[in-house]
């Protein structure tokens, strides 16, 4: 008599297993197949093409009614199994039981639903089966939100967009598919999705799904609201183990199986996404097919062992070509080989260890993926082909990377010279018309004839037109790129690059993550260009700016609270004194910037001390920043017998307007009430000396290794106008200077006359500059101390672990 085999779950893994059994021993078992879905086995992977309309359900059926009939399978579809009676070897659905000699559990996974308000509203789906797919196909012309920017979520998003929905993807992490892709590839993917109209919101945490009778919108922690007729949660899966748990089988994260895929009960087996094998879970079909082969053998009494292989990932979104395989996650001793072709949106990265490939990420061109994957699986020693490895199997000989690719890819209308509004097309035409030197170019188009910061780019465009003949160009900003500071800045603007990975990809960075010299510069350029969109990257800042305190030579920090215009109160002094005592501050010193420095504070005490100072109304003095430091003032006419104007009052006004702003280098201001100049305003970056007739503004001073006296910029009878001019010149400096150039250095390059023309003579431009400064300040006029000393942030300032407290064995 045939033995009875009962299978729970008619999915991809059990389907493949049945094929193997019927092929090897058609008469061995009488099979009963339960499935919760009201249908048999179909190719779940192909739900995405069904969703996007490229295929129909009929196209993706693996086993149809005829197949089941031909193999005598008793199909119980639409009948979830609710109980396993191990003692009597019977399984039950709500419609009845089925006895077994051998039982296979193949229940797959259940989607993970994040526990937010509104998760049970109609209109909230997962992405697992045909029902979910059909719900998503009905979103044409509507708003859809996908929560989760992993493989599944992005296939759902692309599919709905193809159906004509307005789709937003909300992703918790900093870049899409962070488990498979590094930031550079994640950036390219995001760009491709945005190009097809999908909105991508990274670093977004879902707070609630809003709606009365059904989903209407999604609310994020940061307050953003996206309208949503349909919400798809694709944040992950977990093994479907409920019936196994109820039956008291051994279950960890999945149903525990041995190498023969037997559970803790010798009559019960399991395979697919519901199992855990040697602590590992599975989420892709390739290893499940191997399990199917092994389990078929086990059930037919042959010895077989399941050995998991590494798997590679491809995203099934037409037009997004990405490939990722291998292990990026752990272990010392690794090296990278990187190739970028910005013009064509290509990025390839190989991770090597001991001359073997252990990880591959490719975007834009994935043809060589399987070749690399082969080398990786075979653990081939690649030392011989290392130099050309990244170019793939077809390549012999070494292609030169093209430093001008980014410039070549610019459209003709892209603005190259901002001062004179000269486009790339105009420059190309001028070259065609005979302007082959920079002087000739300046004479006929004025390109780079004003502030001059675009000179490098103009030269590159000319070189392009002249067939690569290099018109001498400025040096690259660091060893990671051939582009100069000015070029990078301008390309960030003309190409609309809004993140560090975007800049590195589009401008062909030669390293994976930049270096300590370009990262802080890029972070500054981006936040200055896109104050509202760009999220400051703390990890790209020097220690002092990252920790909002100056590190001292023994690793302790100094804390300098702001004293507006150098003016303080007894209450503030008391709070500072209390803090100094409470945290055992070894030294309290008055700085040259007219405020008080608490030196020698331990890192873990910083947030606590900040909290205390915040409570007394004080904020960070930014004594550590490439940004506004202090506005030093004298007492002025309020007290001084020769004072002409309220210099203290003006200094406080300026400091209150400008605090928190980031600038290319540090920015110190001084305001003196008369030409005796007690505030030493004429050796500050921007100085004001008051006179009877008003205010004399001068810029470009310094008193460090270089001592510089300021030079006159403007005089005005009006305090308001003085403020406007100072804000405007600050903004011009922010937008135009190279990172780490103080005003005097920048002035030396662009010329005082040019600055005057921009902020003194051209009133309209002055107002525009002030308006842009104010937009930026709406974001940055905030106290970093308050943000970094909240209860959730405070623990991050201490050590991760203290092993000195663990008992030695």
């Amino acid at each position: 008599m045939k033995k009875k085999l009962v299978v729970i779950g008619a999915g991809m893994a059990s389907g493949r297993m049945l094929e193997q059994i019927f092929e090897a021993a058609p008469d061995a078992y009488e099979v009963t197949l339960f499935n919760a879905e009201p249908r048999g086995n179909y190719n779940r992977l192909m739900l995405s093409p069904v969703l996007s309309g490229e295929k129909t359900y009929d196209d993706i059926v693996t086993h149809d009614a005829d197949w089941y009939a031909a193999h005598g399978v008793d199909c119980r579809f639409g009948e979830p199994v609710v109980k396993i009676d191990r003692k009597n070897r019977v399984v039950y659905s709500n419609k009845g039981g089925a006895p077994y000699d051998a039982l296979v559990i193949a229940t797959g996974s259940a989607p993970f639903i994040i526990p937010v308000v509104g998760k049970d509203l109609p209109g909230v789906v997962a992405y697992r089966d045909l029902e979910d797919t059909q719900a998503m196909m009905a979103t044409a012309g509507k708003d859809a939100v996908v929560i989760g920017g992993g493989l599944l979520g992005l296939e759902a998003a692309a599919g709905m967009a193809a159906q004509g929905a307005r789709v937003t993807v909300i992703h918790l992490m900093g870049h899409l598919m962070e488990r498979q892709l590094d930031p550079a590839a994640g950036y390219l993917l995001q760009k491709d999705l945005e190009r097809r109209g999908i909105t991508v919101h990274c670093k977004g945490a879902t707070k609630a799904i809003l709606g009365h009778d059904r989903a209407e919108a999604v609310l994020l922690e940061d307050g953003t609201v996206y309208p949503a007729d349909l919400v798809c949660m694709a944040v992950g899966i977990r093994p479907e183990t409920r019936i196994a748990v109820d039956a008291h089988l051994e279950v960890e994260r999945g149903i525990v199986v041995d190498d023969a895929l037997r559970t803790s009960d010798p009559h019960i087996f399991a395979l697919g996404e519901c199992v855990e094998h040697r602590k590992q879970l599975f989420g892709l079909v390739a290893p499940l097919y191997d399990q199917a082969k092994v389990l078929a053998k086990t059930l037919l009494g042959e010895a077989a062992e399941f050995v998991p292989v590494q798997t590679a990932t491809k995203l099934k979104v037409t037009g997004c070509d990405l490939f990722s395989a291998g292990d990026f996650a752990e272990g010392p001793g690794r090296e990278d080989i990187v190739f970028r072709d910005p013009g064509r949106g290509i990025y390839k990265r190989l991770v090597l260890e001991d001359n073997r490939i252990i990880g591959v990420v490719m975007y834009g061109e994935t043809g060589d993926g399987s070749w690399f994957y082969g080398l990786m699986k075979e653990a081939t020693d690649i030392s011989d082909m290392r130099d050309t490895l990244i170019f793939g199997p077809a390549f012999q000989g070494g292609a030169a990377l093209d430093p001008m690719a980014a410039v070549a890819a610019l459209p003709l209308e892209a603005e190259i010279c901002g001062c004179n509004g000269v486009s790339k097309g105009t420059i190309l035409n001028a070259v065609a018309g005979g302007a082959c030197t920079l002087d000739a170019m300046r004479a006929c188009t004025k390109a780079s004839a004003s502030c001059g910061t675009c000179t490098g780019l103009v030269q590159q465009v000319m070189a392009l037109a002249l067939g690569g003949e290099v018109v001498e160009a400025a040096a690259g900003m660091c060893k990671c790129t051939d582009h100069s500071h000015d070029d990078v800045r301008r390309l960030i603007r003309t190409m609309g690059l809004k993140s560090i990975p975007a800049v590195m990809q589009e401008l062909g960075w030669k390293t994976v993550g930049g270096c300590h010299s370009c990262r802080p510069a890029l972070n500054y350029y981006l936040l200055a260009e896109y104050p509202l969109d760009y999220q400051d990257d703390r990890q790209s800042r020097f220690v002092n700016e990252r920790n909002h305190a100056n590190i001292q030579k023994d690793g302790t920090y100094s804390v300098v609270p702001r004293m507006w215009g150098g003016v303080t109160t007894p209450a503030e002094l008391r709070a500072i004194a209390d803090a100094a005592e409470k945290y055992n501050v070894p030294m309290v010193k008055v700085t040259g910037g007219q405020r008080i420095d608490l030196l020698g504070v331990r890192k873990e005490d910083l947030p606590h001390m900040w909290n205390d100072l915040n409570a007394a109304g004080m904020v960070s003095g930014a004594a550590y920043s490439k940004g506004l430091r202090t506005v030093k003032t004298c007492v002025g006419k309020e007290f001084c017998r020769v004072g002409t104007q309220d210099s203290t009052g003006l200094g406080i006004k300026l400091e209150k307007l400008m605090w928190g702003s980031w600038t290319p280098h540090k920015l110190k201001l001084g305001v003196s009430g008369c030409p005796r100049n007690c505030a030493e305003a004429t050796c500050k970056d921007i100085g004001v000396v008051c006179v009877d007739s008003g205010y004399n503004i001068s810029i470009g001073g310094a008193a460090g290794m270089e001592v510089k006296e300021t030079v006159a910029l403007a005089s005005t009878p009006s305090e308001d106008e003085a403020i406007q001019i100072i804000l405007a010149v600050t903004q011009l400096y922010r937008e135009n200077a190279r990172y780490l150039d103080r005003i005097w250095k920048w002035m030396g390059r662009v010329g005082l006359d040019w600055i005057k023309a921009q902020v003194v003579e051209d009133l309209e431009n002055r107002q525009a500059l002030v308006a842009r400064f104010e937009i930026s300040q709406s974001v940055y006029r905030h106290d970093p101390w308050a943000e970094l000393s909240t209860p959730s942030e405070t623990p991050k300032w201490g050590p991760l672990a203290d092993l000195t407290l663990e008992a030695a064995e």
Partner: protein, 111 residues
């Protein structure tokens, strides 16, 4: 064989950042790269003792915050013209947890 001790979750360290672990043998800096690799190095720069945990992490390199020496975190060896080496420790990630060489619990002894 190396014995490991759990020191915390991977997500406790920011990408391209580091956290400190106090040990009987001094402070150890635990780094996380942009692509989620982890490294453990002594938190003392061989140049003048700078705290490497406060450096900028780029690729699998870290730059000392005091005078910009650059170290390969795989080997701990200083790059470019500078000569020196920082001690590295065995470390790995398992199911989102970071495991560090447990011998750091004991003070370095004569053996």
């Amino acid at each position: 064989m190396t014995v490991f001790v759990d020191i915390g979750a991977l997500d406790d360290i920011p990408r391209q950042g580091a956290r400190l672990v106090k040990t009987a043998q001094g402070c150890v800096a635990v780094f996380r790269t942009a692509d989620d690799r982890v490294f453990a190095l002594d938190d003392r720069c061989p140049h003048k003792g700078g705290p490497l945990s406060e450096g900028i992490v780029h690729g699998d390199r870290v730059t000392c915050p005091l005078h910009n020496w650059v170290f390969d975190m795989n080997s701990g060896v200083a790059q470019g013209g500078d000569e020196g080496r920082v001690r590295t420790y065995a470390i790995k990630i398992q199911q989102g947890r970071i495991l560090l060489d447990a011998s750091l619990i004991r003070a370095r002894n004569a053996a």
